[in-house]
Each structure stands twice: as structure tokens, then as C-alpha cells.
């Protein structure tokens, strides 16, 4: 390895040196270099970096040794839905694709806007390639709604993937993603451009082991009249970050960013969102619900940025509610509204607490055992956050319910 490469990250850890080596082994590319540099400015982000205080990848990821755990089951897998599969050793797509969907696997790296703001997104982009496409372009045209499923899983050191979606004017995409872990570090960057009046329904299921790190970064840009509905169910990992950065760049754009996280002992789930109201009369609604057990950690960081002129007539609401199911559960929340425009409606709420003792007793007096009573109340509590998943809502609720009745 050249000295220049080694020096890219200041005081690198073993894991960071391995990332540098991994980068060096990939085909040289000026854009790849720029992306890796964007990552290298921070290295693996951790507690010293703004926005990563509670989600310390540097401390958690000591090396890139593949964890020896079975990959989780995929509850969102459905027959008849085209499935793209990303593993540390390769990429697979079906030969027959639904009408309106075109795939273009590119060997060269695409530029990424705002790479410095999303260091692990930049890392995913910089390390994609080799056995997997450097960039997988997905073109969705109008006509019929397109259904697509993507799976990220499998054993190995690193599972890096980058997928770039273009939703043409009026196109409608129903995308489900299962991030099942299996690698020491799973990093994916998924970008969406929603042209005029395009519709995106994105459902993200994340689960990982206590020896894994996962970073799922999404960048969404929306044109006039576009609408996105995102639903996340996260069970966390040693560290898991599900980050969504969304820009309303033309007026009349609408976004719903909902998430539920359930974190057990030794696991951490981080829901981070950043929404920029870059055009007038756009709407953002956000509901995040979480429940955490002893030894688990939940993190919510939400930010709405409403610029002075561009952000007029913004209608935005941010709610985060967390349940600390046991002593020793941790939840950190940082809701931020940066509102510079004066003609806006912005609401936010943030609470965390224990289950209501009177409700628990009422259920138990009727014969429902404590664990089941707690599960029933918690499932009802998070249900609102999963309603946007449409046909997949039941599958998500079933996973949440099973976890609550067994792990919790």
C-alpha cells in the first residue's frame, strides 16, 4: 500500500486500514477516489463527530472479520416480485424484469452529491464494484406500478452496494428492502430521483447480529408533485444506522418518513433523517416509534431545514416516541427544526418513558401474562409507524410481534 493511501485517514484503526486496502484493490477511478476521500475526512464516524455521538462505528467496528452467524430470514420475500440480491461475493438479478423497469449495471463510479455529509454512504459508493456493479442504475418509467425487492445479506467482511433509482415523470415504484446483515460491515447507498408526480413507496426491514455494523444510507430528491412514503422496521445490530436525506426541490412535493425500531440487549438502532424544504408548499410527515430492552440502545435524530425564501408554506411534522421497556434501556433523541421561513406550519414532539403500569395491570388482571401484555401494548404503540407499508404492513407487524413475544 502506498504511503499516500495509508495517510488518507488520520490515526487509522485496524478496520480503517482494512477499508483502505479494500479501496486500493478496486479499479482506480477519479470519482471513486473523490468518494473515498469524502469518507476518509472522518474515517469511520464515531462519538467525536457531530451526528454520530450515540452511534460509534469507529469503536464498534474493531476489525472486518466476518461474523459467524446465520443470516436472518427474509420476511419481505414474495413470490412473483422481481428480486435483486447483493452479497459480499456478488450480485444477482432476475432475467425477466417487470414492465417499466430497466437495469443498467455500470462498472464506473457515479458522482454523489453531498458525500461529505454522509460518510458511510460515501464509503458504500467508494467500495462498490469488483464482483458487484460499481453503480446499479434502475430506471422506472410510467405506466404500471413497478414492484421490486432488494436483499442485502450474506457472510463476509464487507457487503457494499450502490443503487441509483430514476423514477420518470408519473412513475410508481413499490420497493422493499431487506437488510439482513451477515458481513462485518454492510454499507449500502440507495439514491432516488423522483421526477414530476412520481410515487415511491419504500419499505426497509433491517436486522443484524451483535457482531455486525450496518449503514443504510438513502438520498431522495423530489420534483414537483412527487410523493414518497418510507417505512422502516429496524432491529439494530452492534451498530446500525438507517439514514435518509431528502430534498424537496420543487413545490408540491410530499414525503412521509416513518420508522419503528426495536432494540434488544447488545444491539443499537439509529434512525437519522435530514429533510430540506428547498421549494415552497411541500409537506413532510414523520412518525418514529421505538421500544428498547435492557442493554439496548435506540437513537433518533431528525432534522427539518426550512430556508427563508424557498421554504415558504412548508407543512412539516416530526414525532418521536420511545418506550423504555426495562431498566437499563437507552434512548437518545435529537429532534431539530431549523426554520428560517416565516409562513410555515411545523410541529414536533418527542417523548420517552415506560409502559403505563395501569394498562399493564388491566391486561394482566384479565389473564394476559406479563410478557404478552407488554408485547400487546408495545405492538399497539409502534403500529402507527408501520401503517404506510401497505401490503407489507402485516409482515412487518408479525416480525415486531414475534420479537416482542419472544425476545422481549
Amino acid at each position: 500500500m502506498s504511503t499516500a493511501l495509508k495517510d488518507m485517514i488520520r490515526n487509522p484503526t485496524v478496520a480503517e486500514l482494512e477499508l483502505v486496502a479494500r479501496y486500493a484493490a478496486l479499479k482506480a477511478d477519479a470519482r471513486r477516489e473523490r468518494l473515498f476521500e469524502a469518507f476518509a475526512q472522518t474515517g469511520l464516524p464515531g462519538r467525536r463527530i457531530e451526528g454520530w455521538r450515540w452511534t460509534d462505528f469507529k469503536a464498534a467496528l474493531t476489525s472486518l472479520d466476518a461474523p459467524k452467524v446465520a443470516t436472518a430470514r427474509d420476511p419481505l420475500a414474495r413470490d412473483g416480485v422481481a428480486t435483486l440480491r447483493f452479497t459480499p461475493s456478488g450480485y444477482a438479478a432476475p432475467k425477466a424484469l417487470p414492465a417499466g423497469l430497466k437495469l443498467l449495471a455500470k462498472d464506473d463510479v457515479q458522482a454523489m452529491g453531498g458525500a461529505e455529509d454522509a460518510p458511510l454512504g460515501a464509503l458504500a459508493a467508494a467500495l462498490s464494484g469488483g464482483r458487484t456493479p460499481a453503480t446499479l442504475l434502475v430506471d422506472v418509467s410510467a405506466g404500471v406500478p413497478v414492484h421490486l425487492h432488494m436483499v442485502f445479506e450474506g457472510p463476509g467482511a464487507i457487503n457494499a452496494a450502490r443503487v441509483v433509482f430514476l423514477l420518470r415523470p408519473g412513475a410508481e415504484l413499490h420497493l422493499s428492502e431487506s437488510h439482513l446483515g451477515g458481513a462485518a460491515l454492510s454499507a449500502s447507498l440507495i439514491e432516488f430521483t423522483l421526477n414530476k408526480d412520481a410515487r415511491l413507496n419504500r419499505t426497509v426491514y433491517q436486522i443484524g447480529g451483535a457482531g455486525e455494523a450496518q449503514a443504510i444510507t438513502a438520498l431522495i430528491e423530489q420534483d414537483a408533485g412527487a410523493e414518497s412514503v418510507q417505512t422502516v422496521l429496524a432491529f439494530g445490530a452492534k451498530v446500525a444506522r438507517i439514514e435518509t436525506r431528502l430534498v424537496h426541490r420543487e413545490s408540491g412535493s410530499k414525503a412521509t418518513l416513518n420508522a419503528a425500531y426495536l432494540a434488544g440487549a447488545g444491539l443499537q438502532a439509529d434512525i437519522t433523517t435530514h429533510v430540506r424544504h428547498g421549494a415552497p408548499s411541500c409537506i413532510t410527515g414523520q412518525v418514529t416509534k421505538g421500544a428498547v430492552l435492557d442493554g439496548g440502545r435506540g437513537v433518533f435524530q431528525g432534522k427539518f431545514h426550512v430556508p427563508r425564501t424557498a421554504g415558504q408554506q412548508t407543512d412539516a411534522s416530526m414525532q418521536h416516541k420511545a418506550l423504555l421497556l426495562e431498566e437499563g434501556a437507552e434512548v437518545f433523541a435529537k429532534p431539530e427544526l431549523e426554520i428560517l421561513a416565516d409562513d410555515v406550519q411545523c410541529a414536533h414532539g418527542n417523548t420517552s418513558g415506560a409502559l403505563d403500569a395501569a394498562q399493564l395491570f388491566y391486561l394482566r388482571q384479565r389473564g394476559i401474562p406479563l410478557v404478552q401484555a407488554r408485547a400487546l401494548l408495545t405492538e399497539a404503540f409502534i403500529a402507527e409507524a408501520l401503517e404506510g407499508a401497505g401490503a407489507l404492513e402485516e409482515a412487518l407487524r408479525a416480525e415486531a410481534s414475534a420479537w416482542l413475544n419472544h425476545a422481549a
Partner: protein, 253 residues
């Protein structure tokens, strides 16, 4: 038979602990309906909570058994499975959990604890429909979250609905008449009376005699300062109504 002997209990912790039940003894034979009357602060609601195992109360002495089983040693859910049911003075709202889901979960949990088979969905729905009719409950109400947005009368009727669905062996009714108008009171009492059976006991806790015109007790006990100070027939309730607690209490001392 529900048998309570010399029961003492405190509420609060450490130096703040306050004795509410103070050597209470009471026996309700299977098949009988007993009423407990008493002034505010006598310990009526505390008795219902201590019997059913609510947190925040410490039993400092005595025993309570239902058909020989030590209730105080069991978790609240095990007491329920053993057949003990409390109709709450203030039924609790459970957002997000529909009534039918709640009651079916409870019924199957109790059956499982007793080693019985689960009720089938059609059987459950049939039973629910019949009972809703008896209590004049709108079937739509049973699809809504438990007690959320229900009126006081609806909440009390829903308590009776649950009782009729779960068919407990012993029922404690805590101030079931509070907040009810006369029509609702009659409907609720009809539901309770329908559950009177040789195999079932009942303890009706009330502040006023009015409820006992509709649910006729075999015996009336007067509770004051944490213990039963007087026991009599149904006429005792009328005396309390006429003379007030002060008169009866003074006589007992």
C-alpha cells in the same frame, strides 16, 4: 369460596407506608353474593387491588384463598386464570388494541394457563355477539380500541361484557354503579344477575345502597378502617342508607 383471614396491607414505601387493610376477615361461599359497603377511605378499593395483585400494595399479614388456592402467592395473570375477575371502578383505556382482540387474547391466555384448548374464532364471535346483544352493546364498539372514547356507562358495560365472556369463578365488582344513570345501571345489573350461579361467588363493593336494589346480596358487610366491623342481611344496606355510616359505625364500636 373466597376466604380472607386477618388480612393486613399497606400502600406506599418505607416511612410513607400507610396501613389500609387492618386485619380484615371475610368469607364468601361459592354461589353467594356478598356486598361490602363502607365510607370513603375505608379500604374498599384497596381490598379489590390486594386481592387481584396490583403493584404498589404490600401484604403485611393474613391470607386470601379462592377455592383453597393461595391468591396472594400468584401473579395477577395466574389469579385471573384461577377465576378471579375484577370489574374496575375506573376501566383503563388501551389505545391501539381492539376490544375483540383483547378479550380473545385474555380468554386464550387463561385457557392455556388452565391447560384447556383455545376457543375457535367462529365460537368466539358467536359468543361475543350473543353477549353484546344482552348488554345492548353496539357490535361496532367491540372493534374499537378498549375503552378509548367510551362514555362512563359504556366502559362499565364493557366490564360486564368481559366478565360474561370470561366466565370467572369469582367476581369482584368495584363501585360498578358509579357514573351510571338508572337505565345503564339496570342493564349492568341484568348482566351481573345473569352470571349468578351455584358455582360462582361475587363480592359487590359499593358506596350506596342503590345498586343492591338490582343485585340482591345474600349478605352485607360494613368495612371501616380496614376491617369488617359488621355483617348482616340485605336489610343492613337499607339501615345504612337511612341512618348513614356514622350511626352504624358508632354502634359497632
Amino acid at each position: 369460596m373466597l376466604k380472607i383471614e386477618n388480612l393486613s396491607a399497606t400502600v406506599g414505601e418505607g416511612e410513607d407506608a400507610k396501613t389500609i387493610l387492618n386485619g380484615l376477615s371475610l368469607a364468601v361461599p361459592t354461589g353467594e353474593v356478598h356486598a361490602i359497603m363502607g365510607p370513603n377511605g375505608a379500604g374498599k378499593s384497596t381490598l379489590s387491588y390486594v386481592l387481584t395483585g396490583r403493584e404498589g400494595y404490600a401484604v403485611t399479614g393474613g391470607t386470601a384463598t379462592l377455592n383453597g388456592a393461595d391468591m396472594l402467592a400468584l401473579e395477577p395473570e395466574a389469579r385471573a386464570a384461577a377465576g378471579l375477575f375484577l370489574s374496575f371502578q375506573y376501566p383503563v383505556e388501551i389505545p391501539g388494541v381492539p376490544v375483540m382482540t383483547f378479550v380473545r387474547t385474555a380468554m386464550n391466555a387463561q385457557r392455556k394457563a388452565r391447560g384447556e384448548a383455545e376457543i375457535s374464532a367462529p365460537d368466539f364471535i358467536k359468543k361475543s355477539r350473543e353477549i353484546a346483544k344482552v348488554l345492548s352493546l353496539d357490535p361496532e364498539m367491540l372493534k374499537r380500541p378498549v375503552n378509548v372514547g367510551f362514555s362512563g356507562g359504556e366502559k362499565k358495560r364493557l366490564e360486564i361484557y368481559q366478565m360474561m365472556m370470561l366466565e370467572p369463578r369469582f367476581m369482584v365488582l368495584d363501585e360498578t354503579d358509579s357514573g351510571l344513570d338508572i337505565d345503564a345501571l339496570r342493564t349492568v345489573a341484568e348482566g351481573v344477575n345473569a352470571l349468578r350461579a351455584p358455582s360462582r361467588g361475587m363480592l359487590v363493593i359499593t358506596h350506596y345502597q342503590r345498586l343492591l336494589d338490582y343485585i340482591k346480596p345474600d349478605k352485607v358487610h360494613v368495612l371501616a378502617k380496614g376491617r369488617i366491623i359488621k355483617t348482616g342481611g340485605p336489610d343492613l344496606a337499607h339501615r345504612l342508607e337511612a341512618e348513614g355510616y356514622d350511626g352504624v359505625l358508632a354502634e359497632a364500636v
